[in-house]
Symmetry: C2
């Protein structure tokens, strides 16, 4: 297991508020966050589908615990560090969704299978299966696997249909390994703009994994799980017969990339979930009449996607990168710029890689810091 | 002061080598790194100019110590965390190059001025000066300042000439504050492609700070320092009369963004410094004939600039982002793709924000890990 000191346990949250948190800082509006957690839980309960939220978004056991408390059957993880942090926090049903082929990481996963509750892995290649089988034998554990089916993303998984069945057959040649379903992520569908177009993209993609799951069951496997979906398609995939659980991630935070895809009933803006996550910044320069600088650049806000950070409560400001340490704000004609020392919160284009830039989340109740949550699984492992 | 546990001190580096370091990992080729450190030190010694390398590139006290040992007169820092980590490591001559206007951070800087050796700050606005003066009074310390002069970047500092002189006059109205020179960063010049064009851009920009320094000295200030320059302009700025020290950063690592600017004598590729920094990755999927996936996406390599990561030793591979966790490699016609489980090292487009994604650097001697260095100043402060 990893040894990680309590990153934030020794910091007194009551000393902090929105006016004195050192910037740049990652803030979570707890009211909006709790609303998001409940909205997704209610939807899944109503639709009769399970959900296993993805921790790659937050890497934060405190958030995972709240998702579990709301009814999630487990937590998806993209890395071994995430899986270790979640199991260490007592989270059940950890599913490693990404392939691993490094023997040391596989051995660490075997330790989690032994010590965690209902830990499972997705696999997409015979080489992974061979490594897992050997490690399972050494560790003397039985391992539950999902067949990772590539339904169009072309980055992980095996092809649907017969190739997936053959991989399942290869898996069960190894007595320590058991197939219990399939996993599919249609990343190419999650951000399709417009609900109808997105629905078509997701249904077309997921049909391949539904069919693959049926083929597996016909071939004698116990493929009881079909895990997939995203925040963008949660209310599409939950209606697809054969999908048993949703791997929703971003809904807890929401970001601009998701807002602009449009909702089922809410038109151009996707308003099912609220922007609970912001980056708090300070204006540190105001030399020029046409711009000010804030202390948040490439190291504070991910800007690899198409959209720009938006200053909350300042509708006519435009953010541009000003290098690694700074952002440059300009104003639309007639609009006012903030002053030096002013503190601005930015809604971010992409929540996952922005969160990754921080060690902690300040969990805010209004202006007050209610708790400081470590982004524990961000850190590199310290296994010796 | 901050309390930070030794991030890597409890990990035995001798257990690691290039074949078993968990990926993605940040590697430093020590032979190339040491060559870079020496090349810059030799150049500055030959040119009769001081150098105060910038820690924003590496955030690593172990690297700063080696820069000091090679003759650097101090270390530049962009954040309070960097300054605290460097002072805690015994680094002298820490210069905070970025503006700060948060009272808590300013109080922390006062503590560094008290406990560090020759700590100084750059300031660019009267508001900063007022806050610093009050904090210096409270802490009962004298503070040395550089006037941060905006010579074209338009993101920090005061305008050159009379505005800078007026700011200096305002500074010295406060008895605890002393002006000891100017700082200028011409970020718009550092990456100009082609040596002659870059030389013109840097000379035009730096002329403004040279003139400002002269104005200050004529006005009775003791402006003995002019700190500026970059890796791209080190051999330009070192020849400018009136520049006393270079704030070079990226030269220790080098990246693609700098390589493509061209050298003074080396044509299209800037070869004064070597690519010592790489990101080690593993091929985790090989389902398709036309591509493989590596475990390094947005969270492992900064891709906000124009260039793409390059696989070392694989000349015909093309890297494209495959989301936050993955990179997709395709091959040029006729070229071979790597296989699942293969480990590839990538030279990165931009070293500073890539380094920021990691907690540690594996310092390699050939295939072996010689040391593991914490990127100590990456972490958010833990001041209570």
């Amino acid at each position: 297991m990893t040894t990680q000191e309590p990153l934030c346990a020794d910091i007194d949250p009551t000393k902090f508020n929105k006016a004195n948190v050192p910037t740049p800082a990652l803030l979570l509006d707890l009211d909006l966050f709790e609303s998001n957690v409940k909205t997704m839980a209610d939807h899944c309960q109503g639709a009769g589908v399970n959900f296993r939220p993805h921790a790659k978004t937050h890497k934060c056991p405190d958030i995972a615990k709240r998702q579990i408390a709301a009814g999630a059957i487990g937590i998806c993880c993209a890395t071994i560090q995430e899986a270790e942090a979640m199991v260490a926090a007592g989270i059940p049903g950890v599913l490693l969704t990404s392939p691993i082929v490094e023997p040391v990481k596989i051995a660490r996963m075997m330790s989690l299978v032994q010590h965690g509750q209902r830990v499972l892995l997705a696999v997409g290649h015979t080489r992974e299966v061979e490594l897992l089988a050997a490690a399972a034998e050494t560790a003397n554990v039985n391992v539950d696997l999902l067949v990772d089916v590539d339904i169009g993303d072309r980055r992980t998984g095996v092809l649907p249909g017969q190739p997936a069945v053959e991989l399942a057959q290869f898996i069960e040649k190894h007595k320590r390994l058991r197939v219990c379903g399939v996993q599919s992520y249609a990343g190419h569908a999650s951000h399709v703009v417009g609900f109808e177009a997105r629905e078509k993209a997701s249904r077309d993609a997921m049909a391949k994994s539904v069919e693959t799951r049926e083929l597996l069951n016909k071939a004698g496997f116990d493929a009881r799980i079909l895990s997939g979906g995203s925040t963008g398609t949660y209310n599409i995939d939950s209606e697809i017969r054969g999908v048993t659980e949703l791997q929703v991630g971003s809904y807890v935070f929401m970001d601009i990339d998701y807002r602009v895809i449009g909702g089922k009933t809410s038109g151009q803006n996707y308003t099912d979930f609220q922007h609970s996550l912001t980056v708090l910044t300070t204006v540190v320069n105001a030399t020029h009449a046409d711009r000010v600088s804030v202390d948040a650049g490439t190291k504070a806000i991910d800007t690899t996607t198409s959209f720009k950070p938006e200053a909350k409560g300042w509708s006519n400001l435009i953010y541009n990168r000003g290098g690694d340490e700074f952002g440059i704000l300009t104003a639309e004609p007639g609009a006012k710029l903030p002053q030096i020392g002013d503190r601005l919160e930015f809604i971010v284009p992409h929540c996952d890689p922005t969160t990754y830039l921080y060690d902690r989340i300040y969990a805010m109740r209004g202006e007050k810091v209610e708790a400081i949550w470590p982004i524990a699984a961000r850190r590199e492992e310290t296994k010796r």
